[in-house]
Amino acid sequence: MAPKPRRKTRRRSKTAGSGKTRRPRGSRRWLRWLWLPLLALGMLGMLYTLYLDQVVRVRFEGKRWSLPARVYARPLELYVGLPLRPEDLLAELESLGYERSRHPERPGSYSYYKNRLLLRTRAFRYHDGAEPAHYLELRFANGTVRSLRHAGGGRDPALVRLDPVLIANIYPSHNEDRILLRREELPQLLVDSLLAVEDRDFVHHHGVNPLAILRALWSNIRAGRVVQGGSTLTQQLVKNFYLSHERSLLRKFNEAIMALSLDRRYSKDAILEAYANEIYLGQDGSRAIHGFGLASRFYFKRALADLDLPRVALLVGMIKGPSHYNPRSHPRRAKQRRDLVLDVLARQGMVSEERARRAKAAPLGVGPKGGRPAGRYPAFMQLVRQQLLRDYREEDLNSEGLSVFTTLDPHLQAAARDSVTQRLKQMERSARSDKLEAAVVVAAGDSGEVLALVGGRRAGYSGFNRALDAVRPIGSLVKPLYYLDALSAGYTPASLLRDQAVTLKGADGKPWRPRNFDGKTHGRVSLHEALTRSHNLASVDLGMELGLGRVIRGLRRLGVERNLRPLPSLLLGALSMTPLEVAQVYQVLAAGGFRAPLRAVREVTDAQGRPLTRYPLAIEPVADARAVYQMGWMLQQVVERGTGRGLKAQLPEGLRLAGKTGTSNDLRDSWFAGFSDDRVAVVWVGRDDNAPAGLTGAAGAMRVWGDIMGDARSLQQQPPGDVRMTWIEPATGLLADADCPGALQVPLVRGTEPQRKADCVRDGDPVSNFFEQFF
């Protein structure tokens, strides 16, 4: 290119140094072209920053965490006279995570020695108000609470409610969990340690701390490896909170921008609070442990406020790598890390050298890994969910942090579960059967509160819930239901029935010839005998006399909702129900004729403890109390002398219970349903493939039932007003007296006694006998 003509004045060369050529003027145009993309980039960058800022704002202020609903068992209520063995109370305290020590000093601890329990309970907020923490002294005698005192003096409390055992959480699908803490609730020691170790200049920086980064860089270079991170708490929060765990330069960059945004928008307190609740601190199976509140419970079984210096130091130390420093799996590493944290604290003057030294000498203080609250009672939880979903949406249950107070009795549940496990194994051996399954439902008789629910023999396995969903023929369990109706239709327990061969029209018009279990006929039998021994022929006789229409109406009144075919086979239990449905019907018999819908939830409160819903006690009279009493007496005879008499070997002497065995065709289903003064329980044993289990009700289900009812309250003997125990001669159904051979007392409603006396009574009184023939 020919040089352009030079100007007279010399222009300073743009480029430094001599001998370099000047930049040609045409390059400015080139630069101009550079402006546009730079401007575009700059705008993009701004937009991107704004976008990240939005993300920060929306995430932070919107629904921050999904809080699972916390589900609690029934609280144990302590009072003088409560039937409670000390070992059972200790087991409850164990489930509650109470610490046993020589001298209980903090809430959540106890000491027990020679029948004397010193207990510091935790405060708890119930639906109906707060139960304060107590310091109590309990003494036991003969399996009951003999005395209950305030250990610190003052008037004896009449009633103390323990905090309830947490039995489950209803998680959202991503399995997160929190114990939310406010900024005020973070112990100062924790905050100091956290800042000292993770972010010294937290209070001053603006989200990102370049000095810290440089400092870290310097330490890392000196050490030859990564010993320090330069991330602020804010950056860590962003990392935990918003972004996935991939570590790339872009992520770091985003992190920094979002941290700046966060710091600009929110106070240091808000950020610290979020951090304390968000920080990832370990794994419990598929459940992630986030936040100091939950971590404190998980590792130490204590509230965060109750942690001492060594424990706080350990928690803070774990932030760097919760799995790497897991105190349960890597105790030595964890201890080293903890001691390092203590050194830092001492060095920065947060704690004295002396205190740090003592803390370093302390053991890690980690509690045993408690059973995961979620997943221990899946069958019961299904019932809980069913009830809740009538009033709450699935999302509310997963994410609003509700507290759900249920009716579960963990002690009884454990007994039921253990019995099923052991008994099924035994049964499989003796019955030469296998693949046996079982279901159990236990409820409080008067209120219908479900105390225990077993859905199958594999505990903790959430699958087919046989208690709720296995629909099986109930066999002889149906008999008490229409026998009850008969007692309101003019029959008495002394009425005579015909236990004889009969041919009736069955399904499809084919002849149906029922048989007794022993293949025999028994002629005339009393109604109570027919029930006690479960005579099929007599029962059919009774049912046909009542009429199938009336029988079905009676079943409906008791709450049977299933499809009922008006066939004679119905009288022998050609009727399929679930164990829960059976329990509902037998609950009426257990409660004097007052039906109470079975329920698993008592109350629900929100995350702050404010009451939301209460499911009140509701009863309804559906059967005559006197007939129900008579039925209860007869069902007691089943256990005393009838098909259920095998129970007596299992039960404590003198325990009066009522029940009925049930066996379906070909021994496919083994049932037992019955009640005590306080509970009603139903057990089913059978096979999922409906093949014969080879067990009668007595051989199978009854065994499990006996295990569960062993500590129940004995049935009371007091009949209602106009029911009298009356001597009857069973063979004839006539009035007898104490001296008549074979006579027994049966409960009869006044005015329904037989008119005539039995021969054995006649024999004693010739004068009136003489005149009787004229009347």
Partner: protein, 141 residues
């Protein structure tokens, strides 16, 4: 002597007539149809009245205070809590019936009153009160 025998025989005859109005004896085993009188109308013999234990009593007192201050739902909850401790206490069922009645929930009140009456240990005063509640529930729509 004969007069005495006749007198004696008459006495015996009268006595025989006196014991439970004899009809023609019904065939044994046949059911006698007849509607049952409702449980609430049945009078009860005097039975040892039920005494509330200290725990139940403390809750009774609390429920009374709650009812007095107008918090009927809380009173019901307290009584239910007491019933878990003493399920056979007729006073608790009666009190619950009173609370429901005060809330205008008459069907529930009637059920609880009937339950209270059906329990042994309900003294005469309690029964009268239960009857009162049942009567009120019947007349209410």
């Amino acid at each position: 002597m004969r007069i005495v025998s006749i007198l004696l025989i008459s006495l015996v005859v009268l006595q025989a007539c006196g014991t439970g109005g004899r009809d023609r004896p019904a065939p044994v085993g046949e059911h006698r149809p007849g509607p049952r009188t409702p449980a609430e109308a049945a009078p009860a013999p005097s039975v040892r009245p039920y005494r509330s234990g200290p725990a139940a009593q403390a809750l009774l007192d609390k429920a009374r205070a709650q009812q007095a201050s107008g918090d009927l739902d809380a009173a019901a909850a307290t009584l239910e809590r007491a019933l878990r401790i003493e399920r056979r206490n007729p006073r608790l069922w009666n009190r619950l019936a009173q609370v429901r009645l005060a809330q205008g929930r008459t069907a529930e009140a009637a059920s609880f009153a009937a339950k209270s009456n059906a329990l042994p240990g309900a003294d005469a005063a309690l029964r009268r009160d239960n009857q009162r509640i049942l009567a009120k529930a019947r007349t209410s729509p």
